[in-house]
């Protein structure tokens, strides 16, 4: 369902240079205090691609996503969006650029002081893109797009289930018709059926022309179902010296045949040497 905004400017500058990747990370390093989270990550995401990032908890997946949007600043390296290094843009340009992003947060991050309708309308009103009845129409369109009835618009986030909140988060992210969708663990904490609903919604969104998606997930079903390409990040502290933090980069089919033991372990959900670590730490505690 396509919505025409009365005075939208989000569709401008959308073309860009199709031969250039939409997002590029150039030797990007992220540190907190003295702890390195991401080390010299180099990655490019072509336009229209759905890239899924997998990796164990604490390996820096969410930080990668937040650095792409400019929520965290890298220690060194560049994050280039459509030719612009986003961390050198001024506040005004960065704000305009963010209108091209749709971010679905892990726990939806809905504003609990607002109704669902106000949540979805927030980006429109923030940027004066629609008013009055147009706002209502767009809100109802977006709710319908994620399979929720109009009556949900009057409810508060606390009145909805986890799955419904995730869908509202998706509706809010879609409201400005972004060209880059970012999902932070979209199926975490949901039942298998609701996870599949979210997967289907992500597939539908990715199928729209000019939409590029970056999805962070632990859920291999999601990875296999929606990805054009999968990369796996490994915690920096566990890497051998000089080893790249991206230990796998390929298609979902290639992921199934990956030769790296760590990748196979993650895909098959095996604890492996982590179990040994648990045993040795239990032994140390006992001693």
């Amino acid at each position: 369902m396509t919505t025409t905004y009365p005075s939208s400017n989000t569709q401008t500058d959308r073309a860009g240079d199709p031969s250039q990747p939409l997002v590029e990370l150039r030797s990007m390093t992220l540190q907190f205090s003295r702890q390195t989270i991401l080390n010299k990550i180099t990655l490019s995401i072509p336009r229209g691609q759905t890239l899924v990032v997998i990796g164990e908890s604490g390996c820096g997946k969410t930080m990668l996503l937040k650095t792409v949007v400019g929520l965290t600043r890298p220690r060194s390296g560049q994050v280039v969006y459509d030719g612009d290094d986003i961390h050198t843009l001024n506040d005004h340009d960065l704000t305009n650029l963010r209108c091209k992003f749709g971010f679905v947060f892990q726990n939806a991050a809905l504003f609990d002081s607002m109704t669902i309708g106000q949540n979805i309308a927030f980006p429109l009103q923030q940027h004066d893109l629609a008013q009055g009845r147009d706002v209502n129409r767009i809100v109802f369109d977006r709710l319908a797009e994620v399979g929720l009835p109009d009556s949900v618009a009057a409810k508060r986030p606390a009145q909805l289930s986890g799955g419904m909140r995730k869908r509202v988060g998706l509706a809010r992210a879609l409201v400005l018709e972004p060209e880059l969708m970012l999902y932070d663990e979209p199926t975490t904490g949901l039942d298998p059926i609701m996870s599949d609903v979210i997967n289907e919604l992500m597939l539908r969104t990715s199928a729209k022309p000019d939409v590029t998606s970056l999805i962070i997930t632990h859920d291999m079903k999601t990875a296999y179902k929606v990805a054009d390409r999968v990369i796996m990040l490994y915690p920096f502290s566990r890497l051998e010296k000089g080893e790249d933090q991206i230990i796998f980069d390929g298609t979902p089919q290639e992921l199934e045949q990956a030769s790296d033991r760590r990748v196979r372990q993650f895909v098959n959900g095996e604890a492996g040497e982590r179990l040994m670590e648990l045993r040795s730490s239990a032994l140390e505690n006992f001693e």
Partner: protein
């Protein structure tokens, strides 16, 4: 651990009182860390305040964002400020009466009660109530928004969280605290009058006449002028603590407590500094010992 290597190198030379040196190094390191942390916080807060003022002078948020904050800070704080003011007026009368009666000056009670109220107790009490009722709540709300990624969501949608969350609260605090101060003053005066005249039987004419003689417009101005700074301090400190809230329920709790404690201490510090400044101004204008208006 049972397996201590027998060939571990002895890093501390035994001839240099290692215990004393280690303690000294630790002491310097701990205090150094505290000083660095404190300076970082002050610097961070200064940048935060600068950003608030930048938005304040460039682009205000919409009326729909500002009005709920005005309601929260102003309307909902009014009853508690009025009640506190009334009782403080009565307590002042009760506490001062015996001492003034002993020296035969009980008729001067009105001047003392009303002067203390409009210069000091009214503004400080209103600010303390605001810090407790509104400041902690601001820190808790913004802290929860930080912990649940709602602030990240605001940023990712192209909204500036300082403009959207802090500026309305700052405006509400500095614009409505004078009204709350006036209410605290008024109710304190009423409470003090009621207790002194009705309960203690002080002469009505003497009470009011002495008040009129000693309490002037400058005293009211002083209290209200100071309240603007108190309001600004509460808003900045509370919002800052919320923005820098640590993760989890404990983090939000700590942010709310710290918001009140720091605001209260700063209110008293700012109060002293403004008192010194305003008294100097009053004296330099040549009104020392006289009523300006």
């Amino acid at each position: 651990m049972s397996s201590v290597p027998s060939s571990r190198p002895n890093k501390i030379p035994t001839t240099e009182l290692p215990g004393l040196r280690d303690s000294l190094v630790r002491w310097v390191s701990d205090w150094g860390g505290l000083v660095v942390d404190a300076m970082t916080t002050v610097g961070d807060m200064a940048i935060f305040t600068y950003r608030v003022f930048l938005w304040l002078f460039t682009s205000w948020p919409s009326r729909g964002t500002i009005l709920p904050n005005f309601y929260q800070v102003g309307v909902l704080s009014l009853p508690v400020v009025a009640l506190t003011g009334t009782f403080i007026g009565m307590v002042l009368a009760n506490q001062s009466y015996d001492q003034f009666r002993d020296i035969g000056l009980e008729n001067q009670l009105g001047a003392v009660i009303n002067m203390s109220l409009v210069r000091e107790l009214g503004p400080v009490l209103a600010a303390t109530m605001l810090a407790g009722r509104v400041g902690s709540s601001m820190a808790a709300v913004i802290g929860t928004m930080r912990v649940t990624e709602q602030i990240d969501a605001l940023i990712s949608m192209g909204a500036n969280p300082i403009r959207y969350l802090v500026v309305p609260r700052f405006l509400a605090c500095i614009m409505l605290i004078p009204a709350l101060t006036i209410m605290a003053d008024f109710m304190g005066i009423v409470g003090g009058y009621f207790y002194s005249v009705v309960m203690l039987g002080i002469d009505h004419y003497q009470y009011l006449n002495n008040s009129r003689q000693f309490v002037g417009g400058w005293d009211f101005f002083m209290g209200i002028f100071k309240s603007f700074f108190f309001g600004g301090t509460i808003a900045i400190v509370s919002c800052y603590r919320g923005f820098h809230c640590q993760a989890g329920a404990e983090g939000v709790g700590r942010a709310a407590t710290a918001a009140f404690v720091i605001s209260f201490v700063l209110i008293l510090v700012v109060d002293l500094m403004l008192n010194i400044l305003l008294n100097a101004v009053y004296t330099s204008l040549g009104f020392a010992g006289k009523k300006m208006f």
